[in-house]
Amino acid sequence: MKVALLRTVFRVFVLLVLFSGPFSRAQEGHSGHTEAATGEAGHAGHEKVDAGEIVAHHTGDSHEYLVEIPFLLHKTIHLPVILWTDKGLSIFSSARFKGDNEGKVVVTDDKGNRFVRIHEVIYYADKVKPGDKVSALDFDKRPLDFSFTRNALAILIVFGLLFLVLYYTVKGYRNPKKLPKGLAGFMEPVILFIRDDVAIPNLGKDKYEKFMPYLLTVFFFILFSNLVGLIPFAPFGHNLTGNILVTFVLAVFTFILTTINGNKHYWKEIFTPEVPKALWPIMVPIEILSMFTKPFALMVRLFANILAGHTIMISLVALIFILGTVYVSPVSGFFIIFMSFIELLVAFIQAYIFTILSALFIGLAIQEHEHGEHHTEETVH
C-alpha cells in the first residue's frame, strides 16, 4: 500500500522534474524578456535561448511570482512595489509595469513620481533613459526599494512552513513524561543533534542554552529553504539560500552574536595578541580582519553552494533548448534527478555547516581560556 503510494509520488515527481523545468523556465523567459520584445508566444524550440538569462532570472529576485502547475495552471502574481521616494512612501502593484524590464513602461504614482523598471530594479524615469548602463547601486538614480519581492514571499513561505511543522511538533509534547508523538518523533532527533553535537561541544555545557534558539532557527530555516528550493513548482522552488542577501543577513546575525558576546579574552586576542610587540602592526589588522572574514565565509559558502546547485539544474534543462532537440531530455532528466539527490545531501550538509560554524565562532568568542594555552581555531570546509 505504502510502497505503491511512494511509487506514485515518485513518478509524479519525476514527471514534474522532467516537464516543469522546460515549460516553466521557457515561459518565464518569455514573460520576462522575450515576450515583451517580440510580442509573440512562439515555440521554445525555434527560439534562441539565452541560458545565462534563464539562470539569472530563476536564481535572482523579481517583482512577479510565477505560480505554475504543469498543464493545469500558469499564473503570474504581481507583488506589491513599495518605494521610499523623495516625496514619501509609494505603494503600487508591480502589474503596472506590464512585465517590462527594459525601462520602456513608465509608471506614475499618486504623488506624481515617475518610475521605470530595468532588470528588476526601479529607477526614477527622469534620471534614466532606456538603454542606459545603470545598476542597483546607483542610489541617486532610484528610490529606496522595500518591495515585497518573490524572495521576500519565499522567506515568508519557508518560515510559515517551519512554524506550521513546529506547531504540530510542539503538540506532540503534551505529556512530557511520554515519548514524543507524531512529527515530534521526527523533529526531536534533529533538535537533539543540534543540541548535543553542535551547541554543547562548541559552546560549552554552561552557556549553550542561551544560543539554542538562534542555532535552531538558523539550522531549520536553511534546511527548509534548501529543501523547499528543490521542489520544482510553486509555492516552492525558490533560490532563497542561494541568494547572497539572505545569507548576508544570516551571517550578520552570527557576526552580531559573536561580537556582543565576545568576552575579555576574545578582545584581548584581537587587540593584544600573544606575539612579540614588533609583530602587532601586522597581527592586529589581521585579527580585526578575521572578525569579518569568518561571517563572510559563512555567507559565501552557503550562497555559492546552493546557487551552484540551482544553476546546474537549470542549465541542464536549458541544454535541451540550447541543443534544440527533444532527444536530449532523457539525458537532462537523468542528470537532474541525479543532481537532485546530491542537492538533497547538500541541503542538509550546508545547513549543518552554517550552524556548526556559527556555534564555533560564538564559542570561540565566549569560551574561558586557561592561561598560557594556545588554541588553533581555523576550521576549513
Binding site: 539569472a56 532570472h57 536564481t59 535572482g60 529576485d61 523579481s62 517583482h63 532588470h119 528588476e120 530594479v121 526601479i122 542597483a136 532610484r142 529606496l144 526599494d145 522595500f146 518591495s147 515585497f148 519581492t149 524572495n151 521576500a152 522567506i155 515568508l156 518560515f159 517551519l162 512554524f163 513546529l166 506547531y167 511538533t169 510542539v170 509534547y173 512530557p176 513524561k177 514524543p180 515530534a184 523533529m187 526531536e188 533538535i191 537533539l192 543540541r195 542554552e209 539554542m212 534558539p213 538562534y214 535552531l216 532557527t217 530555516f221 541568494n243 547572497i244 542577501l245 539572505v246 548576508f248 543577513v249 544570516l250 546575525f253 546557487l307
Partner: protein, 163 residues
C-alpha cells in the same frame, strides 16, 4: 543574478527572521527543549531511583543474610548449651544415683550384718539350749541305769588318773 534593490530583501529577511525567531523561540524551541530536558531529568531520576532501590535491595539481602547467620549462630549456641546442660544433668543424676546406691548398699550391709549377728546369736543360744537339753537327756538316760553310772564314773576316773 538579479538582486533587484539589495535593501529590499535585506529588510524583509531581517524583519521576517527576527519575527519568526521570537515566535519560534517562544512557541517552539523553548517548550520543546523544556519538555526534552524535563523528560531527560525524569529518566535520570528514574535511573537513579532504580539504582537506589537496587542498592537498598542488596542491603536488605545482606541484612537478611546477617540475620540468618545470627539466628543460626544463636541456634547453635542454644543447642550447645542444651547439650551441655543435658550432660551436666546426666552427670549430676548419675552421681546422685551412685551416691544413693552406695548409701543404700551400706545400709543394707549394716542391716544384713545386724541380722547375721542376730541370727548367729540366736543360733548360739539355740545350740546352747539344745546342747544343754541333749546333755540333760543324755545324762538322764545314762544315769537311769546304775551300772552305767558306775562305769562312767570309773572311766572318768581312769582318765583322770592318766592326767
Amino acid at each position: 543574478m538579479n538582486l533587484t534593490a539589495p535593501e529590499s530583501l535585506i529588510f524583509w529577511m531581517t524583519l521576517f527572521f527576527l519575527i519568526f525567531f521570537f515566535l519560534l523561540t517562544k512557541f517552539a524551541w523553548k517548550p520543546i527543549l523544556k519538555a526534552v530536558k524535563e523528560r531527560e531529568r525524569n529518566i535520570e531520576a528514574a535511573v537513579d531511583e532504580a539504582e537506589r532501590v537496587k542498592q537498598e535491595m542488596a542491603k536488605l539481602k545482606a541484612d537478611n543474610e546477617k540475620l540468618l547467620q545470627e539466628a543460626r549462630a544463636q541456634r547453635d549456641q542454644i543447642l550447645k548449651e542444651a547439650r551441655e546442660l543435658k550432660e551436666q544433668m546426666l552427670q549430676e543424676a548419675r552421681a546422685e544415683a551412685e551416691k544413693q546406691r552406695a548409701e543404700e548398699l551400706a545400709k543394707t550391709k549394716q542391716v544384713i550384718e545386724a541380722e547375721r549377728q542376730a541370727a548367729l546369736k540366736d543360733i548360739h543360744n539355740h545350740v546352747a539350749k539344745l546342747t544343754v537339753e541333749m546333755a540333760e537327756k543324755v545324762l538322764r538316760d545314762q544315769l537311769a541305769d546304775k551300772a552305767k553310772q558306775e562305769e562312767l564314773i570309773r572311766k572318768n576316773l581312769s582318765e583322770l588318773k592318766l592326767n
